[in-house]
Structures are given as C-alpha cells and as structure tokens.
Symmetry: C2
Subunit: 428 residues, 2 copies
Amino acid sequence: MTIVEDAQKGIITEEMKIVAKDEGLDPEFIRRGVAAGRIVIPTSPYRQVKICGIGEGLRTKVNASIGVSSDIVDADMEVKKAQAAEAAGADTLMELGTGGDFLAIRKKVIDSISLSVGSVPLYQAFIEAARKYGSIVDMTEDELFKATEDQAKLGTNFMAIHTGINNITMDRLKAHGRYGGLCSRGGAFMTSWMLHNEKENPLYANFDYLVEILKEHEVVLSTGNGMRAGAVHDATDRAQIQELIINSELADRAHKQGVQVIVEGPGHVPLDQIGTNVKLMKEMSGHKPFYMLGPLVTDIAPGYDHIVTAIGASVSASYGCDFLCYVTPAEHLALPNLEDVITGVKTSKIAAHVGDMVKYPDRAREQDLAMGRARRDLDWQKMYSLAIDPEHAKEVRNSRAPEDSDACTMCGNFCALKIVNQNYNLAK
Amino acid sequence: MTIVEDAQKGIITEEMKIVAKDEGLDPEFIRRGVAAGRIVIPTSPYRQVKICGIGEGLRTKVNASIGVSSDIVDADMEVKKAQAAEAAGADTLMELGTGGDFLAIRKKVIDSISLSVGSVPLYQAFIEAARKYGSIVDMTEDELFKATEDQAKLGTNFMAIHTGINNITMDRLKAHGRYGGLCSRGGAFMTSWMLHNEKENPLYANFDYLVEILKEHEVVLSTGNGMRAGAVHDATDRAQIQELIINSELADRAHKQGVQVIVEGPGHVPLDQIGTNVKLMKEMSGHKPFYMLGPLVTDIAPGYDHIVTAIGASVSASYGCDFLCYVTPAEHLALPNLEDVITGVKTSKIAAHVGDMVKYPDRAREQDLAMGRARRDLDWQKMYSLAIDPEHAKEVRNSRAPEDSDACTMCGNFCALKIVNQNYNLAK
C-alpha cells in the first residue's frame, strides 16, 4: 500500500508523524494533506531518507540541483556539491547529470547524503541513445521506460517526467513560437523526438505504464515543465499553460492510482505574472504541491541570477508556491562550482523564509521578532544565534571590529539603538 | 527663481530637457512633473552635477550611502567608495559620515564625483555638540540650522531632514513602544534631544526658516524617516504613519515655497506590507517622489541584507517607489568596505530594473527581449553586451570554458537551445 492509500484509509504513518513534528502541526493535518494530494512525503524502499514534507500548509522547501555535464565530468566534485548543499540547508537534491556513467554517478551521490534525491530519467535515455545511435531522436520507447525503472531502483525519491508535452501542447508551441526558444533540456529532447518520429510523447501515450513503475518503486512524480519560458517575454504563454492543463489531468490520474505527485512550473516570469502563475497552477491542479524553477524575474543579470531568483522565489512562495528550485550565480553561464551551490542554497533559503513570513504570519515570524529584540538590546551572541548564517555574520562584523564592543563599525559611538537605550525606554 | 517656480510658469529648463532625453520622454511631461511636485531634479548653484530626475514616470533610481563612522575615519577610502559607487551605476550618493572633520571629508567626496550628493545635516550638529558639550542633548537650535547651511554651501544637492518627528509623533511612539527600538540615527538623536529638553523639534517648529535655507541654496528637501521600523515586527506602526502624515503636510508647504521635495519611507517591512506602504505614501503626499531605505523583508539574514533588500526593493519599485537606497552585505554588522559598496549598488540596480519592468512594461523590457533572443541564438557577444555586468558574466563563463564555443558548461553538448535550433524553428 502506498502512503497515499494509507492516508486515504485514515492511517497516520511514521513519515506523517515526522513531518508533523518537524512542522509543528497536527499529524491529522498531514494525513489529510497526503490523502488529498496537497502534501507529498518522498520515501523509498531502497534507502533511508531524511523525511521532509512538501505542500500546502508546510514550510516552503528548497531544492538544489547538481550534476555533471558533457564538458565537465567529475563525480567526486558532484558528491562534494551534494554534501555542501545538504550542509547549507537544502531540503532535497536533484542529480541532473548529462555526462559520464549515469547510474554510477547517481549512486555515488545518493549514497553520500541523507536528503531525498530527484532525477530526470529522460536525460539518461536520450543521451545514451545519442551515444549509441548518433542522435537523440533514435531513442526507443523501451529505453525511456527502462531508464526510468533503473533510476527508481537506485533509490531515487522523485522524478521530473515530461508528461505534459503531447501533440496538443506541441500545436500551441508551434503556432505561437518563442522569443527565447526552449530552455528545458527535457522539452528540447522530447519535442525534437516527437517531431522527427511523428509520434506522440511515450510518457503521455503510455502514462499508465509510467505510473505503474513509479508506484512499484515508491517514486514521487514531478510533472516536468518542458514548456517553461526561457525568457521573460515568453512567460505564461499558451504552450506553457497547455502543458499545465495536461499535467494537471495526469497528476489527478496518478494520484488516483496512489502515486504522490508534484506539479512543476516556470521558469522565467516577470514579477507581475508570478501571482497569476501560482494561483492558476493551484486551481488547475487541485492544489497539488507546486515546484517552481526560480522564477527568474529578469533576463539581463547573468552572474547574479541567484539574486534575480531570490526576488521571484520570495514572491512565488508568498503566493503559495511550496517548493523552490534554487538558481546559482553560474546560471546561464557555466556549470555551478562548489561555492555557487552553497550560495544558491543560502539565497533560496532566504526567499523561502520571506515567503513563509507571508504564508504563515503567526508561526514564521518568531525568529524575526527575536532578532529585532536582540538588535535593540545589542545582544550580539543572540543575534548570531538567530542569523541564518551565524559564521558569516560573525566574520563580517569581526573583519572590521568596533572599538566599542556593543555597537558595530557602521555607526560606532553613534549607534541609534544605543542612544535610545541610554536616553529613554521604548522596549516591548 | 527655483526650478519648481520655472516649471509652474511653463518654462522648460535645460535640466528638464536633459532628464527628458535621458528617460526618452517628452520635456513637457518632465515640466509638469516638476511643477506638480511629482518629479525632482537635484541641482546646485555651487557645483555642476550629472542631471538625474527622480519621480513618477521616470526610471527607478538608486542611491548609495557612504561615510566614515567614529570607529573608522579614512577619507581617502570614502572617496574610493564614492567613485566606485558612481562607476557601478549609482544615480546619487549620500555622504553620511559621523566621524572626523565633517565639512572637509564631505568636500573631498563631493569634489571626487559628478553625482548629486545628499547628506543628513543633523548628524554633524548633534555629534559636534557631543564633542563640544559632552552630550548630544546639549546641541543648540542655532547649531542645527548652521550645520544645514554650511553643508548646503558645499554644494550638497539634497538633504534628509527629520522634520516629521514632532510632539504628536513622539506621543504615538511612546504609547505604542517598539520591539526593535529606533534604528534611525536622526530619529534617535532628535527624540533624545526633545525628551531631554522638553521641546518641540526645531526642524518642525521652525520649518519655514529651514525652507528658506534650502530655497536659497537650491537644496532638495528629503523628509527624513526617523520613525522607520528597525525590525519587521514594528513595520507600518502608528509612529511611522504619524510621521508620514506630518512629513506629507510639510512637503506640501515646502513645495508651495518653490522647494523640491522627496518623502522618505522605511525601512524594515515584511513583503506583504510593501504595497500598502507605497500606496499610502503616494496618496498621503500627493504623489511626491518616494525614497525607500531598503526595504528589508526579513531580519534574520545579516551578511545577506543586500539580497533581502533586492527582494523588498523590487516589489516596492513595482508598486511605484521612485528611489531606492541601497543596502550592502555589511548592513547591521559593520561599516561597508569598497567591495560591499559595489555589491550594494549592483544589487539595487537589478531591483530597480525588475520594478521598472512592472511599472513600464512597454519601455523597460526591451533589453530583456533582446537578451532572450540572444540566448536563443547562442550569441554570446550580444549576451555580454546586454548584461548589466558584462565583465562579471564573461568571467564566470570563461572560468569554466566550454569545449563547444556556442554552449556553456552547464549543459555542454546537450544545450536545450542548441538542440531545438538544430531540429526545428520556433523563433519569433
């Protein structure tokens, strides 16, 4: 019996209790969420994972994506990145390698961390086809499902699967065109395959078979967003929304089979379209957990796309997005290095918190309140302990140590907080 | 005759023409904005400045604040910071030193750049009083106005003046209290002085005299936000809004005398209160240019407050905030160093652009559109030229140079854009 089926029968599983405790919520709330498909809890029969719930009513979670490319294949470095992402506070990890020995590298990464791990199985299927036959378009349908099953058996906990790119979606894409092309690798592979072979997407055509595999190996389906815009000018276009509609239908079908489902969203989205995207997705999908890749609110800041994403992700989380895929400073320029991964996680954690302050004003602002008071009282040890990155905060202050131990070098003797504390009492 | 009086008489001055050209707008639009008080253009009879308009209908502008503190007095370093801020794209600079020889350091900084320079004259008055009498509360009223006049004569273009902290505002502050105390140095000085001397704020009581000084020396009045929250839990409280009401009244009075006016706002503001703050300010003040300090949307990320500010500032600009004061990574921890200043400016420039994309969808998204197309076409030279920081973007890509010159190491041979370009045509 899957966790969804347990929940629907009224059973509160061990995983639901862990999530409830972690979030400070009632286990019955978690059970209802899992039963209705509003909450997922990735697990695996093949490995112990750190249990983490994703969905409505829970803290916004952050995913870090890593993985080698055809240019840079260094499995040990990917292990280091995975461990650094976990240490920096990532809630899940996606191993999205497109080079080297797929299963061996993924196994190594999975074994090195306790987080739930996600993958995109079609990368392996298409790229192995390119190696074997000379072109991605010659991949066979069997190879696609075989790669999915092989990765599931490694203990992969969730999979982004591009189910919503069907002939209907393709018609919208071709009719409307794109300023910025397609930025989704899965989208690029699958649309190229469909056009060349004049065939329906096997993941759509044989969706029930796909669901069987996922159910057997307890994999969470994350319906891929192959039509996400790669440029803000393509955001919220017909192809993207068509894919969302198809994915929402399929998400219901999978959920009815007892499989947990996340729905993925964009991408590059200007600030004023983020709320619409989140609300539309939630309505369309019956409030499945929403996983946004970014969103990036401008295209003109390569090198600073972690900041561009912090802006978009804060706003998307505040509107109800449940799960944020980080973006690193290397986005659009290079494969992220170790430092980029750490920066990406920390930046997205800030965005998740800022969103949660809006989602859950009662419970998600307590740390801010304590920090406000610690600042008023010039209690530096307390400030450090409340900071999301205490070591970094200490480093900055101590690099320019103040003469007067209770202030900092910004204002020195003329610290506003200190002056007020000396002259009158405002505290509450 | 002041620029406001010129505008009200129908005269389009040279400065208005420069702003119109810079913004791609009709000079008559600028004239009407200046006449009505919706736009300010800082100038000075004492120095040539780079002309830059601030207000409704114009691009969102970014201010960088620098200045020594009592702990660190290095005038040459402040000159370097000022020049670096200008080079990084700051639109204005505030010299907010609270240590050393006030006029000498400010003169040195002013002479080193072409940007409009702002100051907070009461810092000098209070701190010189502390040096002379042993306490800030012993400052005389004459000393306050004298410091204002001395700084104006240096060619200071705009001044943050804490006019709105009067007895009415103080009553609200004392009755309500604060979780995070007062973070405004001007607010801390002035409230301490008022309480100790049992006197009304001289800047409020003698507002007309203040306006005479500003008018004589062509200084833009920026009504200071001494009651801004220093903790998100104090945001949008009665003291802050009371001060806004008083400042809005005074802003009208100054504008009627022909003086240009900006109204300052917070501060620490949670994401869901930013829109309210901007709309309230605009209504309250009759749509004067709004200058926000941040806003910072969470208190728990010291060391990353430039990112916290990018989130808040993007949203505030999208709602109509006209002028953003940058925040550096050193905020709440130390006096910013040269690198912090540069990072602060670049981050706030991104936020200003993201806000402008919402304010002006027709004219502020063109660079994004060109970038989307350059990415689709894998035209790296064009991408660099469109990036807000071309050198940094080049550096990141080249630090991990791809095998294949048209892609990057993120996806290597399996670049989505490249695959689509090879297989079918989507371009528009």
